[in-house]
């Protein structure tokens, strides 16, 4: 696979028998010999270790919070040291350029952005904050699942008392790790930024813990979908507003109309108006009634025959933990929960119910 980049764990993936695929410019493990379904279930039952080293890590001075607020509709100035928050870069049309995590490390803010967007994001960030640094020499691991705390705490006892969305620096074997209690599977767990030259060593330590198995991108996708979480480029993109995407919870009052730092980010006019009046369409959960998955691109209709599509599936598949298919689609916001719609799969309109998300309950450490 020429022209593709590799993370610091590439050799370890091969050693573990991973099937490697191109993803966002990287050669990444889509699955290990366990297989997607069992890897998914293993993460929900015990603990899964994910290589997310392809994602971008950017550091900016903590004093740049105000400059960052000009790019994102969330309260960055209100983020306390040791805390992390979900955010998104918006565009002038009120769409989403990328979604990210912002973590306060004390002196600096750590921004973790999607692999496919990281170059564009860095251009955007450094135009606003010239001191911004892309950290290319650190890997990123995620340890997720009910066994994550016990496994990580055996190496670093201090992580056990962290709460959801807290971040702190830890010393491991002379190496500084930045660990947050967060993830993208709906499970309790941690994300660990580790110097690239120690990433494989640390991953091996974790894999040696009982119950920890390596998990590929295939299960990462079904886990995040069951958790109702958005995948950039599929469920959210430059044409979807955060309000349509159901992400208004991430916009704090202080950035909304009447707030002390109201607006001042790209697309504020549309986004703040949609917050007050409600969007015309909304990202909704769908539970297909049969077993047939409704995948990305499946058109949704209001009736079993005729009429124009009322939306399109943005992510869909089979949920191993719910034992049934599940999908997300942008649909008219006024469709009530429980309404039946029809997805056209291989020329047949199959019924699906509009349901709340997540499909599988979150188990964050609040």
């Amino acid at each position: 696979m020429s022209g593709l980049k590799r993370t610091d764990l590439y050799d370890l993936h091969l050693e573990l028998g991973a099937k490697m695929v191109p993803f966002a410019g990287y050669e990444m493990p889509v699955q290990y010999p366990m297989g997607v379904l069992k890897e998914h279930l293993h993460t929900r039952a015990e603990a899964g270790l994910f290589d997310v080293g392809h994602m971008g890590q950017v550091l900016v001075p903590a004093s740049a919070a105000a400059a960052l607020e000009a790019l994102v509709p969330v309260s960055v100035a209100g983020l306390a040291p040791g805390r992390q928050r979900y955010a998104f870069f918006t565009n002038e049309a009120g769409g989403i350029r990328d979604d990210l995590m912002i973590a306060h490390l004390g002196e600096e803010l750590l921004l973790v952005v999607n692999a496919a967007c990281k170059e564009a994001d860095f251009t955007l960030i450094s135009a606003a904050i010239p001191e911004a640094r892309m950290i290319a020499d650190r890997g990123l691991l995620a340890l997720q699942g009910p066994g994550a705390e016990a496994a990580l705490a055996r190496l670093l006892p201090g992580v056990a008392k962290m709460g959801f969305m807290q971040i702190d620096a830890f010393q491991w074997d002379g190496t500084e790790l930045w660990i947050s209690r967060s993830g993208y599977t709906g499970e309790d767990g941690y994300e660990i930024s580790v110097p690239g030259n120690r990433a494989a060593d640390f991953a091996r330590e974790l894999l040696a813990e009982p119950g920890v198995a390596p998990i590929g991108l295939g299960a990462r996708d079904s886990l995040r979908l069951e958790a109702g979480l958005c995948l950039y480029g599929h469920d959210i993109d430059t044409t979807t507003s955060p309000i349509e995407a159901g992400l208004s919870w991430a916009i704090q009052k202080i950035r909304r109309r009447g707030g002390a730092r109201e607006g001042g980010f790209p697309g504020a006019e549309r986004i703040l108006a949609e917050l007050e009046t409600g969007p015309a369409r909304l990202r909704r959960g769908l539970a297909p009634e049969g077993r047939a998955p409704m995948r990305e691109g499946v058109e949704i209709f209001a009736t079993p025959e005729g009429g124009a599509p009322i939306g399109t599936v943005t992510s869909g598949g089979f949920g191993p933990s719910i034992g049934a298919p599940m999908a997300m689609a942008y649909l008219p916001a006024d469709l009530p929960e429980g309404a039946t719609v029809y997805g056209e799969v291989r020329g047949k309109r199959l019924p699906a119910k509009v349901v709340p998300m997540p499909f599988h309950p979150h188990s964050y450490k609040r």
Binding site: L37, K38, A292
Partner: protein, 119 residues
């Protein structure tokens, strides 16, 4: 047992031919989560879409390997799609066909030729 380039196997059973997918195919597909089978008494021509398999990764069509009539389908794999991964060459057969002409089987690979084919 005969094998097609589309990774199906065919086994003669009296005057019928039983059709399934190979172990190689089931490994490549990954965990199967949904199977749709044809109606019995359907007349199919070689190359017609006649069944659907969906794995955790993607949907794939199963093509009719020969001309003939579908006379029986295996509801067990509709009820339990995981059977396709567990026993692709045995319990997870897909359908049985009555062939218009049994000599259609002559063109297909034997096991050694198929193993060479998948390398």
């Amino acid at each position: 047992m005969k094998f097609t380039e589309e990774h199906e196997w065919l086994r003669v059973e009296g005057d019928l031919v039983v059709v399934g997918i190979t172990e190689h195919a089931s490994e490549q597909l990954g965990d199967v989560v949904f199977v749709e089978l044809p109606e019995v008494e359907t007349q199919v021509a070689k190359g017609d879409d006649c069944a659907v398999i969906e794995s955790v990764k993607a949907a794939s069509d199963i093509l009719a390997p020969v001309d003939g009539e579908i006379v029986e389908v295996n509801e067990a794999i509709v009820e339990n799609p995981a059977l396709v991964n567990e026993d692709p060459l045995g319990a997870a057969w897909f359908f049985k066909m009555k062939l218009d002409d049994m000599s259609q089987l002559d063109e297909f690979m034997d096991e050694d030729a198929y193993n060479d084919f998948i390398g």
